[in-house]
């Protein structure tokens, strides 16, 4: 009988031990002084220890607290919990605690535990006197750290209240209230306004229909994205710019479509953009003003030279002043061509040459001679500095041709040709069909004049070379890089 009893006890103990190990919940049995009496298989698994390292040792000698993190020491709390359980005989839920544990290399890793301490009675008849504490242990590290990441994300999203999450219910035509959304629409904390239109009421009248349309569009098809910028007017009259980005989703419970997303207060960005626009407009205004003055001043220079020429009686002086005026015009006309578009660094030279043509033809023709000027140019933009040099060169070359070329019948043609050449070069050629011999004679006399000097100087400024061709008339060609 006695033997039978022992056999039965043994069987029972074996069964209990097997059940203890089979328990998916990690458990450790502690004596009052926190000595580990028993630990189940799952406990060994989650702590990374084997039973030899645990049994008979103090729990907090085995799991020494992390010296670098005072918050990561559970020893005191565990001691209090065990004492309380042993005194009261009641289970104690310790909640979630942090107690870091070392790996094999002695490096601590952050660990969070959900701990429940339960009383164990060695004598079933003494329910008032527990002798040991059974601690059920759940490793909740991933959950806790995951929650913290989410919280950090949420905090980042509502920092300074210039960004917030929103939910809009199209059926009810209203936003879900949150303190952040309230702040963004200028409602005070706790301000009680349950009107269903409360947020929409503050949207700028010019923007409200676009906002409604966008919500309606997104609400028709779950999964559509939403993208809207609009103004809200706060009670103090200030206008804020909000940018909403989100999408429509089907609510898993109600099956209705909701719109969720983030709302950004972009007032600062919009203000900066508008300041930039104002500054740019001011800049343009100043440029136009300076441009106007430059043109007026050039007109004055030209006017003075013309009046001077008009008032002098000496023909040589008259001619010199007229020549000076023509040169001023060659420069001034380029300024006239500037600012006709937004680019002031270059000039559409073909347009300009056409304008110069009519002027030169009119000013150089006389009753005695009728010479026509033909201009042909490919569409070419060149830098303003080069355009001015080119303009002066054209003025000199055409003037020379008109004045010095002897035309048999008193009629003739002067041609100005501007073409693109290989290797990024541009060629300006001015030719006339004047009589060869006369031209040759005159060419030598020209070379001492200011005109010839200017032509060479302008060619130099263009980075080009002057070439003279005597072939059924006279051609001067300047080849220069673009």
């Amino acid at each position: 009988m006695f033997q039978q009893q022992n056999m039965s006890d043994l069987a029972e103990q074996t069964t209990l031990a097997a059940m203890f190990d089979a328990n998916p919940i990690a458990q450790v049995l502690l004596a009052r002084d926190l000595t580990i009496v028993a630990a189940n298989y799952q406990y060994c698994q989650i702590t990374g220890k084997n039973r030899c390292e645990l049994i008979g040792r103090n729990a907090f000698e085995v799991f020494k607290a992390n010296p670098d993190d005072p918050d990561a020491d559970n020893e005191l709390a565990q001691r209090r919990s065990v004492n309380r359980v042993l005194e009261t005989g009641e289970t104690n839920d310790m909640g979630i605690v942090q107690h870091d544990i070392q790996n094999a290399d002695g490096v601590y890793s952050v660990r969070y535990w959900r701990l429940i301490t339960s009383p164990i009675f060695s004598a079933p008849e003494r329910q008032d006197a527990p002798t040991h504490a059974l601690v059920s242990v759940e490793d909740v590290t991933k959950t806790v750290l995951g929650d913290r990441v989410s919280e950090a994300k949420s905090r980042a999203a509502i920092k300074d209240a210039d960004t917030t999450y929103f939910e809009y219910d199209p059926a009810a035509v209203r936003f879900d209230r949150t303190p952040q959304l309230d702040a963004m629409f200028g409602y005070h904390e706790g301000e009680d306004d349950e009107s269903s239109q409360m947020f929409l009421e503050r949207i700028h009248p010019e923007d409200i229909s676009a906002v409604r349309d966008e919500f309606e569009r997104a609400a028709r098809t779950a999964g559509s994205s939403i993208h809207q910028d609009y103004r809200v007017i706060w009670p103090d009259g200030s206008v804020r710019w909000l940018a909403g980005r989100g999408e429509s989703i089907r609510d898993p419970v109600t099956q209705t479509v909701r719109i969720v997303g983030v709302l950004l207060d972009v007032t600062g960005v919009k203000k900066d953009a508008s300041k930039l626009r104002e500054a740019l407009a001011m800049q343009k205004l100043l440029l136009a003003e300076v441009n106007h003055r430059v043109k007026n001043s050039l007109q004055m220079v030209s006017s003075i030279l013309r009046m001077e020429a008009s008032s002098t009686l000496d023909q040589a002086a008259k001619d010199a002043l007229s020549a000076a005026n023509a040169r001023v015009h060659a420069i001034a006309t380029i300024h006239g061509a500037l600012y006709e578009d937004d680019d002031v660094s270059s000039v559409q030279i073909d347009t300009y040459l056409e304008r110069m043509r009519s002027h030169l033809e009119a000013s150089l023709s006389s009753d005695q001679r009728s010479i026509s000027l033909e201009v042909s140019s490919e569409p070419i933009r060149i830098e303003t500095d080069k355009a001015i040099a080119l303009s002066l060169a054209v003025n000199e070359l055409v003037t020379n041709s008109f004045k010095h070329a002897a035309f048999e019948s008193g009629k003739g043609t002067v041609k100005v040709l501007l073409t693109r050449e290989p290797d990024g070069m541009i060629a300006l050629s001015v030719s006339d069909d004047g009589i060869e011999s006369s031209n040759q004679v005159l060419a030598s006399s020209q070379s001492s004049g200011l005109g010839q000097t200017l032509i060479k100087g302008m060619a130099l400024q263009l980075g080009g070379e002057v070439e003279e061709i005597n072939n059924n008339g006279w051609t001067t060609r300047i080849l220069f890089p673009e």
């Binding site: 430059v294 043109k295 006017s303 009046m307 008009s310 015009h329 001034a332 006239g336 000013s363």
Partner: protein, 135 residues
């Protein structure tokens, strides 16, 4: 005298009575000189839009040469509109800022010519010549 050929003129076209609306004295003097060289008569020089209108009303010129940006901030185009619509006097616009003219203003003024500053003397001469020749 208007419209009659000025036979004494070497340019062989009619002498016109012209008012000048220009706030820059040098440019105004030059324009006057150019016109007188061509045997035209200058009936007055105005530096503001108001002055331009009062000269035009008093002198009834054949045409006006009008700068757009005038002294005291007034606008040549305002004077030109009044001259055209109220007095039937055409204008030649002359400015460094012709782009300031709107399409509506252009329609009201029907300018004989729009000359950019700095202007080539012959451009003004050509504009006036073609007006004088027109029937």
């Amino acid at each position: 005298m208007v419209g009659q050929p000025a036979s004494s003129s070497p340019n062989n076209f009619a002498s016109l009575r012209i008012s000048i609306v220009e706030d820059n004295a040098i440019i105004a003097l030059d324009l006057s000189g150019q016109m007188e060289d061509l045997q035209h008569e200058i009936v007055g020089i105005a530096t503001t839009a108001d002055k331009a209108i009062s000269i035009a009303e008093a002198m009834q010129p054949d045409l006006a040469i009008v700068d757009l940006q005038l002294a005291d901030g007034s606008r040549g185009q305002d004077a030109a509109i009044y001259l055209r619509t109220e007095l039937g006097i055409p204008s030649i616009l002359l400015s460094g800022s012709l782009h300031l003219l709107t399409d509506d203003e252009h329609l009201s003024i029907e300018p004989l010519a729009m000359l950019p500053k700095p202007m080539q003397p012959h451009e003004l001469e050509n504009a006036i010549r073609s007006y004088a020749k027109s029937p």
